[in-house]
Every structure is written in C-alpha cells, then in structure tokens.
Amino acid sequence: MSGGAQTVDLASASLRDLNAALHALPHDTNMTRWHVRNPDGRHAIAAGLTAPVRVEIDGHAGYYCAGMNMAATVIVRGNAGTGVAENMMSGRVHVLGDASQSAGASAHGGLLLIEGNAAARCGISLKGADIVVKGSVGHMSAFMAQSGTLAVFGDAGEGFGDSIYEAHLYVRGRVASLGADCIEKPMRDHHRAELLALLSEAGAAGAVDVGAFRRYGSARTLYTFHVDNAAAY
C-alpha cells in the first residue's frame, strides 16, 4: 500500500489493527491520508500518533480520541467523548461536533479546534496547547491551566479558570463565574494580536471580532501559600 487514502472500517477491523497501523508509520511516510469508518464511539481511536498524517474519523469517537497526539492531524466528523486530544504534544485535532468533558486536558502543544460546545473542564491542567471552542464551555474549564491559550466564542460555565497559572483565556460571551484567583484583565493590542493569530491558525479569523472577547488570567495571589488566603482555597 502507498500513495492514496487508506481506509480502515472499524466494523470489521479492530481498534488495535487501526492504531498499530498508524503507530507503525515512519515520519516520512507517504501514506498520509487515512479514513476511519464506523467508529461507533470506540475509545482511544488514533491515540498516540507520532507521524504527520491526516486521519479523518467518519462519526462519533469515544474517550481519549487522539490522546497524546504528536504531529498528526485528526478530524472527528461527529462528537468526541471525554478527554479528546488529552495531553496532546503537537499537531491538530478538529472536532466538527461537540466534545465531552476534559477536552484537551493537560495538552502541552498543538491546536484543538471544536466547532460545537465543550463540556466541563475543557482545557483542565492545560500546559501549552491552544484550544478554540466555537460554542460554549462547561464548568471548571481551564482549571489549574498552566500555559497555552483557550478561546471560547460562546459562554463559559461556573468556576472558569479556577486556580489558573499562566494560561491565556479569551471568552466572547458570558462567564457564569470566575474560579479562585482568576480575574478579568485588560485586553491590549498584543492580546488582540495573539487571539487573531490563534483564530487564523484555526481558520476562524474574520468569523468573529477579536474586539468582542474579554481576557481572563491569574491574579497570582495564590502562587505562594499565605494563611490570609485560606478562605480562597
């Protein structure tokens, strides 16, 4: 096999067959286009990829789709379950539907683009990746987010950015409530430029006005334990 698109039908092939084939690809493979049929919500589809290939999943994916992705582009033509692109290092994961909890959890790099909504804890423990959610995000999103960027076109649920470190958060809609140590910060030119660059990378520049976003980040009052802050913990 070489050249054209590879198709793996999970109605007949096993998840193991699919992932083993994808893991076996060298970085300079010419088998760069893959289609996964009948995913039927299976877990860990296209998890642990390391080669710069493009995998399109024709339907809904279960937990940890594209988990720990490196270099690959994974497209979910449906909804994604818990932990899509968790701990992603690089590459791009694009969910055309909605994403469940913990989307992009602890991701270190790459771009996670969600066309629909993301549930609770989107970007939890974020460590450097970029996440763009065109819908809204659920409660406790960006909890303990350390680094990276989360841009939300819609609303954010309660406890947004709780215990955040240095991640950059942008929300266009309403934030139900901010978590401990998360505050609204001024939106300056370089923040608008950063957001515009992210939206451009996500192919969404021009879809929304970056001037309509508000910026949130760490007040840094909880960085060093102090007993007078005990009520905040």
Partner: protein
C-alpha cells in the same frame, strides 16, 4: 525534720509536650505543619509478626547451598513485555524536584546493580534516570507535570497513580524553594512559586473511566508495557478489586507509613491505614477474582528489613517497594551531618523538613552546593548493598521455613504477637489458634 512529700511535676498523656508545642506553634503561625516522610506514630506493623520456622513437620533448606528463588515477573496478565526483576524489592516513585538529580541517578544505579526497577515521580522523566535505570517505571499522575508520550514509550512499565499511603486523597506540594529553573521548565510553571499537584486526574474519575484510561495507555504503547495502578491504603479490598477489574497488571498498595516529599502532618498521621492492615484485604480481593499471582501485588510503606519483606510476601504480596529506606541507604539523615541538622533546628534521624530544600545530605534538595554532596556512584553502591542485605535476609527466613522460592512463604508460616496484629494480618496470636474475627472450631 523530714521534708514534706510533694507531687512531682507530671505531664498529661493527652496534652504531652509535643502536643503543647504544636498548639503553641499553630497559635504563633496560623498555618498547619508541613513536613516530609511518613507517619511517625507507633502503629501495628510487621514487628508484631513472627515466623514459625521449620520443625518436625516441616524441614528447612540449607543456607548458602539450597536454592531459594527471589525473581518476580510483573505484568504478564496483559503486557507483551512483562518485566522480570531479580529481587522482589522495587524502588518507589519519587520525583525529580522533590529529590536532587544526583539522588535520582543514585536510585537508578543502585536498583540496576541489584537487578530491580526504579520509578519516576511527579514532574516527569529525566534523561539521567532513564540512562541509569535498567528497568524504569513511569508514573502517570494527576498533575501530569512533564507527562510526555515519548517517555511513556521509553519506559519499561507504567504506573497510574491514584494515591499514596502518606496522603490518600491528597495531592502533592512542592514549595517554591525547590522550584529551580530546570524543575520549573519540566513542570511548565513559573520559577519559585508553590506548586500543587492535583489530587484528581484531569480526564477520568472512577473505576469505569479508569478502565478506559488504561485501554488508552495500552493502545498508545501498543500493549507492550505492564500497567500498574497505585493506591494509598484506605479501602484496599475494593480498590484492589476495582483496579484489577479496570485491567491493571499490577496493583500497588502503599500503607500510611509510606513517605511523602511534603504534606500536612495532620494528613500524614490521620488519613489511611497501616501497611499491615492493607495486605490481606487486597490479597482476598485478588483471590476472589481468581487473579492472585496473575495480577501482581506490590506492597509498600515502612519496609525496612528482610523480615519485613518476608512478612509482606508471606501475607500474599508478590513484591515490596521501598522509598524512605532507600533514601536512608543513600545517606538521608546521616549522623555525619549532625551539625547541619542542628543548624536547621533538627537532629539526624528526625529531620523531615524535606520540602524546604535545605537537606544537608543533598537528597531532598535542588540546591546545587548541597546536592553536590551526594556522590551518585557511591550512593548507588550503598543502595545496592542494602538491597542485597534485604534479599539475603528474606531468603534466610524463607529457607528456615523450608521454601525454595520467597513466593512460597504463606500466612501459615506466621503468628502474631498482639491481638491487633493477629486481627489485621489474619494470622493466629502466637501460642494459640485464635485469629480475631475468625471462627476457630
């Protein structure tokens, strides 16, 4: 004239001097005490068990002559590449960050010389420890600091950490003093700030999610690596059954004597159960599932001697893990640094302010000058020597009980010195056939 008898000053057992001092400290500072190491209170422990040895009905094996096997295979349940250790004693997870790079290297060197594994910790894998550890277990922790799939693939086994014995239900703490530029970069955090490790995993909760998480880790590593699940001892029967059901190859149970880099003293002393009380329920869970010996059980928390190792194995563990004892073997709390300990307001043997990063022995520190005090080659040799002694002692007991492999030790080889130990270990009180809670007729 005779002096009038008077009552000498008498301290309260409830409000003893240590308690009074802690109340004064709390009143002066307004913050709880944070420290390293494990529980310091006296607990029912392996000391409360004795081996019966051979007698007329059982014959022993000759020391130094007749073979007594010590090897252990971990992970054969699901992993394509199970690991084989020469001895049933492993080195527990301790992070680079809480420990100096020299200490991590020494642990790898010592474990490798002894033919056993060492384990990463919160904060990721360093090249030094990978390079010096023949068999390295990579921890997947709630914080996911430094979590890297390439490290997952270059590890020999994976340990999903749910909790640890010093603080079941608690996350980690690495205070700002130890966040050096290298530690900060590995953990994607600003330098010098207090760093808390999460107490829950970010992308799974509960046994059903854990099963899927384990599936993901297996898929990412192509089903090559053994996967451990580590829990702090609190509900060992249920936790072991749930971990096994979730697909673990190995279950690690860490009792409350197990150490920590930094946790509230109240947490260390009052949450979790003793190691002695955790083994039989965990073994029972595996036996009821038909998985005892197929899913390996590693027990840790307060293992100090070959007697402790032999007792843990006799109660049904496949291996033990050591942390605090390994640090002592490297040189932790060595009396030769007494003047330095005194300067820190402590004394050799009692020093536990590991979180402050000023360890005179160069182990629990990121200070360049202090950590340079630890020679990783020499310290690794000391650890290897200590592991050899633990193994020889374990074999000496096993041979005395007539066992050709340390795994042949069994509860029937043991009796208890106290009613508490008899109940917890479910072995008879010495000289009786009484196991509290069990019918004897």
């Amino acid at each position: 004239m005779e002096a009038t008898p008077h009552t000498p000053p008498r301290f309260s057992a409830t409000f003893d001097p240590a308690t009074l001092a802690e109340i004064r400290r709390a009143a002066a500072t307004g913050i709880y005490d944070i420290r390293g190491a494990g529980t310091k209170r006296k607990l029912p422990h392996f000391d409360d068990l004795l081996f019966l040895g051979a007698s007329i009905s059982r014959y022993p094996l000759e020391g130094y002559r007749e073979r007594c096997g010590t090897e252990v295979v971990l992970g054969a349940r699901h992993a394509k590449r199970p690991i084989t250790l020469k001895i049933p004693i492993t080195i527990a997870g301790m992070s680079f960050g809480s420990l100096s790079a020299q200490a991590k290297e020494a642990l790898g060197r010592g474990a490798t010389l002894a033919g056993t594994s060492t384990t990463t910790g919160d904060g990721g894998m360093t090249d030094e420890e990978r390079g010096h550890s023949q068999t390295l277990v990579y921890q997947v922790l709630p914080s996911r600091y430094g979590m890297n799939p390439d490290d997952l693939r270059r590890a020999d086994a994976i340990e999903v950490v749910v909790g640890q014995g010093a603080k079941p239900g608690g996350g980690g703490m690495l205070l700002g003093q130890k966040i050096s530029p290298r530690v900060a970069a590995m953990r994607t955090l600003p330098e010098g700030i207090d760093q808390r490790s999460a107490c829950r995993h970010p992308d799974w909760t509960g046994p059903d999610d854990l099963e899927i998480k384990i599936l993901e880790l297996r898929e990412i590593t192509d089903w090559q690596k053994p996967i451990y699940v580590k829990v702090g001892a609190s509900r060992p029967y249920y936790d072991t059954a749930l971990a096994a059901k979730a697909g673990a190859d190995v279950v690690v149970i860490d009792g409350m004597q197990g150490g920590t880099a930094a946790t509230q003293d109240v947490f260390i002393e009052h949450v979790g159960i003793p190691t002695l009380a955790a083994i039989r329920p965990a073994v029972a869970a595996l036996q009821e599932l038909g998985l005892h010996r197929r899913v390996q059980l590693i027990v840790s928390g307060g293992i100090r001697s070959g007697a402790d190792v032999a007792k843990a194995l006799a109660l049904g563990a496949d291996a033990v893990s050591i942390g605090t004892a390994a640090l002592v073997a490297l040189g932790d709390n060595d009396p030769r640094y007494e003047a330095d300990y005194q300067a820190l307001g402590s004394t050799a043997g009692a020093y536990d302010d590991w979180h402050e990063g000023r360890d005179p022995a160069g182990i629990t520190t990121q200070d360049a000058a202090l950590s340079a005090r630890l020679d990783p080659v020499l310290a690794g040799r000391r650890l290897a020597n200590y592991l050899a002694v633990l193994t020889l002692e374990t074999q000496a007991i096993a041979r005395a009980c007539g066992k050709s492999h340390v795994h042949n030790l069994e509860p029937e080889d043991l009796v208890a010195l106290t009613i508490e130990a008899a109940a917890m270990a479910q072995v008879p009180l010495a000289g009786t056939n009484w196991i509290p809670g069990k019918a004897t007729f």
